[in-house]
Symmetry: C2
Subunit: 258 residues, 2 copies
């Protein structure tokens, strides 16, 4: 199960979810708490085919493989060196029969994989529009943070194309873009049926939003009580401790919280 | 100030906001807590011209007249008997110089009042689509509860038409329609810039949503922590007590909470 010998500059972190481990490059984008929240928010049924658009380290397929043992997962990643590292993590965990990492462009993924090829699409996309936010010039960080390779409108259009009728789309994004995100998803035919905002503290404005949509859905929109991350500075809320596993350090190896 | 003698079947309630009183017919739609929340949520600047689409009892112009002393308010109401009663409340409070109650149809209000005639539009519209929800057959209750006279799309189109560029729209509605509402407002050119969900209890899903939008706005969307109505059964939260005035009974005469 571990014939993989990651290059010396890479790091292997224990995710403490079903014994999962993940390979990351400390000098490249590492996964963040946001992916862990999205994996917790998504709901998978047995036998479903699941696509992660912009998989990065492969964190979402890895976590989702443990959440629903009977599903087939694909992670699409534009950057060859990230895709290679994610594929190594899949091998390291002995999950090659269930998780496929593919190199490719979200903007053409319907052509690459075929229309209606997936029951579920998940994504933790770049949060900033091109030209906004911190951009340190490194192409890997830029691609992970900003919509330089794919706009939000392109993402949801492709996600809708990949999905079967009534297929589901799960996403985490910045709360300050909520109106644009919801409107864009509705325009793409992805009807938002469940919303959960994430607040750093009980009295804070939301900084993240978790959205669940259904292709061609027409149902009511369930708005859950917000997920509060910290009950006091440095102290996770009970719910966050539960999401992380046990003690707030169960999922290690992620970037600092935003 | 009170040469008004309401007909014997009518009731005069003290709103306890700046000494305001309101005339209501116990057998017709009375105002609800939702209008009080919306009046609290809206922000008015001195000198602004404010329109309330579907004013009913006139509760919103009355409350807003006390929130911002220097503004001109208009309440539009389709049902002649409701408009007449609202106009009597305005007279009763000596506010005829600042509040105008007009009888008319939301669907044609841009033609009635002219385009770009208002700085702010507020609305507590019917919550249910035609054919949905409780409909007891009484035309007044039906008009107040269901979109039998004006759909949501028609409402926001007219609201956008009434507003000056960068004019603001404030609305309260059912949280389960959030995705449709936000998408519809964005489509009408009303960009949602502030959202607050309302939850009966801290652990409940939201049942109402307060939305603030700007015509032609392009800013970020601020998502506030939810407003929680009850801290325990029958006991208002501190914030609700503050919104109501003093002791949770400050705004009297409203319908039961939904």
């Amino acid at each position: 199960m571990s014939e993989i010998n990651p290059a010396p500059h890479l790091r292997v972190d224990d995710l403490l979810h079903g014994g999962l481990r993940i390979i990351q490059d400390p000098s490249a984008p590492c996964f963040s708490v946001d992916a862990v929240l999205l994996a917790d928010f998504a709901r998978l049924q047995p036998g479903e085919r699941v696509m992660d658009l912009g998989t990065g380290t492969g964190i979402l397929p890895l976590l989702l493989s443990q959440k629903q043992a009977d599903c087939m997962l694909t992670g699409l990643e534009l950057m060859p060196q990230m895709a290679e590292m994610a594929a190594q993590s899949v091998q390291l965990n002995g999950l090659t029969a269930r998780i496929t990492i593919a190199q490719g462009d979200i903007r053409t993924c319907c052509a690459q994989f075929g229309k209606a090829a997936f029951d579920v699409v998940v994504s933790n996309p770049p949060y900033f529009k091109a030209g906004q936010g911190r951009e340190n010039g490194d192409p890997l960080f830029l691609a992970a943070r900003a919509e330089v390779h794919c706009t939000f409108a392109q993402l949801v259009e492709q996600a809708a194309g990949l999905l079967v009728p009534l297929g589901r789309f799960y996403m985490v994004h910045r709360a300050v873009r909520s109106a644009e995100l919801i409107s864009g998803m509705e325009t793409a035919g992805l009807h938002v049926e469940r919303i959960r905002f994430v607040q750093p503290y009980a009295e804070s404005n939301a900084n993240l939003v978790l959205l669940a949509a259904k292709k061609g859905g027409r149902g009511e929109t369930q708005v859950l009580p917000p997920l509060v991350i910290y009950q006091s500075p440095g102290q996770y809320s009970k719910e966050m401790e539960k999401i992380y596993g046990y003690d707030g350090n169960a999922v290690s190896g992620r970037n600092a919280d935003r």
